[in-house]
């Protein structure tokens, strides 16, 4: 058969089965700098189907959504709507084409009312001006549809609790008459009743021919809802299959399998009788942290695992005293401490240090010099008779630059001139200067090069061997397995499982991260 007849044939098959995808991605690739987030992905969503998107952290799910909803451009490949190629320059164009996304980071405007938010793009008008009455009525109707009659249209979004905001966000998406609705972890902040309500809405939409793309980390939800599922791994689409065609085990198998690219320093033998550096008991903060208790011994690297956004960040911030109103108790070196701001944490019996998640906003003063950044937290140690002792300062900075091998043209160069890896070393140096006994690391290797990652692994082990206790949150499972003596797996604000020794495998990590053990027990 001549090759040119094949498209015709395909069209005929499509017509026969009456299934044409509404949204189609063809050979889509996306690179950020040198890093490939998506590689030659083919992907389609049909009207009236609910498709789940599965994958580990960093598998390419969010990039896929961003491309489909017009937030970013693909580096390569084509987006088609009903078979016609399109190029979304911004989210508005995607919405006009019927692709509407409920973002995980809420897109609501806190200082505006619920009614304003629900009609933010195309408000009802009267004589060229926004018709406030009609807008309120529209808001009431949309809120009713998502079962939020308790929310007044004139309430400000900032006054709503997170779960209500999430429902308003869903109502906002419904108000745009989506043909494809993308839900990115849309139920993560919802109460059980609301989740049921969202399921009902999703099924209703499906019945009316809307295609739904459902990103969730909850296997139970996916089993309950999805018609088809697509698994991503390392930026590639691995497989798309129908409901019931693959077992949970097989799905996990598909999600695992990242190449191991790093060398990790040797782990010492476990020291069960090492003194406890930090003991946390029954920590609770809103929905994000629930009844968390654990111990951290000196000389130990303990990992925080689990899927992104299960409360790990909040836990680190809470230990460092940034969160207000966290209940429970924390004892450092056997003495209870008050969680009352970073300064208190830095002066605990064993000084604490937090390497923050985003070095650019929370870690560094970008325009300031390498020297000033490094000594910022440790200035009291560098005082001489007349203020800051320049000799002491230079000696300390030089020592750190050498120890961490920071590549900088000059100590007085602005830190913004350094590469990402070297910037992160400056953040580490800043905290090492305070001689911390407890080090909290919030995903310190994200977005830095392989060489620097390995130096950081080595440094962590070195610090632990010198007696520091390290709590290490990472979204990279291979890294947790390679570096940690134990890993606490967090799901939904609780520690679900502790993995150590031979049990510390990627398979176990992923299984507990998805909370599958608990599901099996429940079933």
């Amino acid at each position: 058969m001549p090759a040119r007849r094949i498209p015709f044939l395909l069209a005929w098959v499509d017509a026969l089965s009456d299934r044409k995808p509404y949204l189609e991605l063809k050979r889509i690739s996306k690179r950020y700098g040198g890093v490939a987030a998506l590689t030659e992905v083919d992907f389609s969503v049909y009207p009236g189907e609910i498709q789940a998107v599965l994958g580990e952290n960093g598998a390419g799910k969010s990039t896929l959504i961003k491309i489909a909803s017009g937030v970013t451009d693909p580096s390569d490949g084509e987006v088609l709507i009903e078979g016609r190629p399109v190029r979304f320059r911004n989210p508005t164009e995607a919405m006009r084409a019927g692709v509407v996304c409920v973002f995980q980071e809420l897109s609501l405007l806190p200082e505006l009312t619920v009614a304003d938010n629900l009609s933010i793009v195309d408000p009802p008008k009267w004589g060229g001006m926004i018709d406030a009455g009609a807008q309120r009525a529209r808001a009431r109707a949309l809120l009713k549809r998502v079962g939020c009659e308790d929310v007044h249209p004139l309430e400000l979004v900032r006054d709503l609790p997170l779960s209500r905001r999430q429902m308003v966000e869903i109502a906002k998406a419904l108000g745009r008459d989506p043909r494809i609705l993308i839900l990115d972890e849309a139920t993560s902040a919802l109460t059980a009743d609301d989740v049921e309500r969202v399921y009902a809405i999703i099924r209703e939409l499906k019945a009316s021919g809307v295609g739904i793309l459902y990103v969730s980390h909850r296997m139970r939800e996916i089993e309950a809802l999805a018609d088809t599922a697509t698994v991503f791994r390392n930026g590639r689409r691995i497989e798309t299959f129908n409901k019931g065609e693959r077992s949970v085990d097989a799905i996990i198998e598909m999600m695992i399998g990242r190449e191991v690219t790093h060398q990790y320093p040797d782990k010492p033998a476990p020291k069960p009788d090492a003194p406890v550096a930090l003991k946390a008991a029954n920590l609770t903060w809103g929905r994000e942290i629930q009844d968390v208790s654990f111990e951290l011994k000196r000389g130990e690297i303990v990992g925080l695992g689990g899927l992104d956004g299960q409360g790990q960040r909040e836990l680190l911030l809470g230990l460092f005293g940034v969160l207000k109103g966290m209940s429970g108790s924390v004892a450092v070196d056997g003495k209870p401490i008050a969680l009352n701001g970073p300064r208190k944490a830095m002066h605990a019996p064993l000084p604490m240090a937090l390497i923050p998640e985003d070095r650019k906003t929370e870690g560094l003063m970008l325009p300031m010099s390498v020297r000033d950044n490094m000594t910022l937290a440790a200035l009291p140690r560098l005082l001489g008779r007349f203020g800051i002792d320049a000799d002491k300062e230079s000696a300390a900075v030089n020592d750190m630059v050498e120890r961490l091998r920071v590549k900088t043209p000059d100590l007085d160069a602005p830190v913004s001139a350094l590469s990402g890896g070297n910037q992160q070393k400056v953040v580490l140096a800043k905290w090492l200067m305070t001689a911390p006994g407890i080090i909290l690391l919030n995903d310190p290797t994200r977005g830095i090069d392989v060489g620097t990652k390995q130096e950081i692994y080595r440094l962590m082990r070195e610090l632990a061997n010198q007696g520091a206790a390290i709590l290490f949150y990472s979204t990279d499972y291979a890294e947790l397995i390679g570096c940690c003596d134990r890993v606490l797996v967090v799901y939904d604000g609780r520690i679900r499982r502790e993995l150590a020794g031979a049990a510390l495998t990627e398979r176990n990590l992923l299984q507990s991260a998805l909370n599958i053990d608990a599901m099996e027990k429940a079933a």
Partner: protein
């Protein structure tokens, strides 16, 4: 329906708490002023007070718009002075010629604002530094037109707009009300006006929601220029001349920011109203008058203005009590 109306009313009060506070503060101060004034509340006393207060009120309204988008316009005072100087040169002759001149002055003011907006939006420069620079340019233009105080203005129009309507109501207040009706209320209820609040509230979320971010900023700065030029015109009608005065330009800029804050608008953007700024301006002006009737040295004026400003800012600080994550205090 009446239950709904009641709860709508409750939200209306909550949303306008800043404006209402400023209005009440002004009412109290103005009552105090009038009851201690030797003449009491005569049309002449009211007109004098209004003519002074409306100038700052217009400039403060202008300032409100960029502030709502989380920006700032340091050139409002300079546009005010520049349009004063231009008006003293072109709003002359017959009434018809004067009206043409008024339209031209308003267009120039809007153009000055548009230039600010264009630099902020397309040049991606910070509003504060952009308007500091363009403000100096506008002041330079004012000096070029009026190297020394002078000029003239069409006196029929001037007398009409600075006198009294029906011999009772100060005409300046009518002008102010007209500006509110023709500019502010339509703006507040337009899509781009809404977009300005959205941008100030959270620019990223606004963009993600498909809000026209750039056009909203452009319009905010353009209208700021327009409103400042209405102020410049009123200044000309009051003084019958133009003067390129640096102290006037500077003090109006700074007082406009103070008025915006007293009127309940957040300098972090996304929250507030130009109506509040009008009352904020009235409060600041009445302080001056109060010092006069109580025979206090005028040197105390900055001190009192500062105290009122501090009190207004402190009212806004109550939200801190509700924050759960200490990092949120620092953004």
């Amino acid at each position: 329906m009446s239950a709904g109306a009641v709860s709508n009313g409750r939200y209306w009060i909550a949303h306008n708490a800043g404006v209402l506070t400023a209005a009440v503060l002004f009412a109290v101060m103005f009552t105090l002023y009038v009851s201690n004034h030797s003449a009491g509340l005569t049309p002449a006393v009211a007109t004098t007070a209004a003519n002074k207060a409306v100038l700052l009120a217009l400039v403060a309204m202008a300032q409100t718009l960029p502030v709502l988008t989380r920006g700032l316009d340091l050139s409002v005072g300079m546009v005010f002075v520049m349009t004063n100087c231009i008006a003293s040169a072109i709003v002359v002759g017959t009434v018809g010629e004067g009206l043409v001149g008024i339209v031209a002055v308003l267009a120039i003011g809007a153009l000055a604002g548009f230039v600010n907006g264009a630099i902020v939006v397309w040049g991606r420069l910070q509003p504060i530094i952009t308007t500091l620079a363009t403000g100096a340019v506008y002041y330079g233009i004012a000096l070029f037109i009026r190297p020394s105080p002078g000029g003239d203005v069409q006196s029929d129009i001037a007398d009409l707009l600075t006198g009294q309507v029906f011999g009772v109501v100060p005409a300046a207040l009518v002008v102010l009300a007209a500006v509110v009706l023709v500019v502010w209320i339509p703006y507040r209820r337009s899509v781009l006006g809404r977009a300005a609040y959205a941008v100030g509230s959270n620019e990223q979320a606004a963009y993600m929601s498909g809000v026209p971010v750039q056009r909203a900023k452009l319009l905010a700065y353009t209208l700021a220029g327009l409103l400042a030029s209405v102020g410049g015109l009123m200044l000309t009608f009051n003084t019958y001349s133009g003067e390129a005065s640096a102290p006037i330009a500077g003090s109006y800029t700074l007082n406009s920011i103070a008025a915006v804050v007293i009127g309940g608008t957040s300098l972090f953007g996304g929250w507030g109203s130009a109506i509040g700024s009008i009352f904020g301006a009235f409060v600041l002006r009445t302080i001056e008058d109060l010092l006069f009737v109580f025979d206090l040295p005028p040197l105390w004026q900055p001190l009192f203005q500062g105290v009122v400003l501090l009190a207004a800012v402190s009212l806004g600080a109550f939200r801190i009590l509700r924050v759960r994550n200490r990092l949120e205090l620092l953004t």
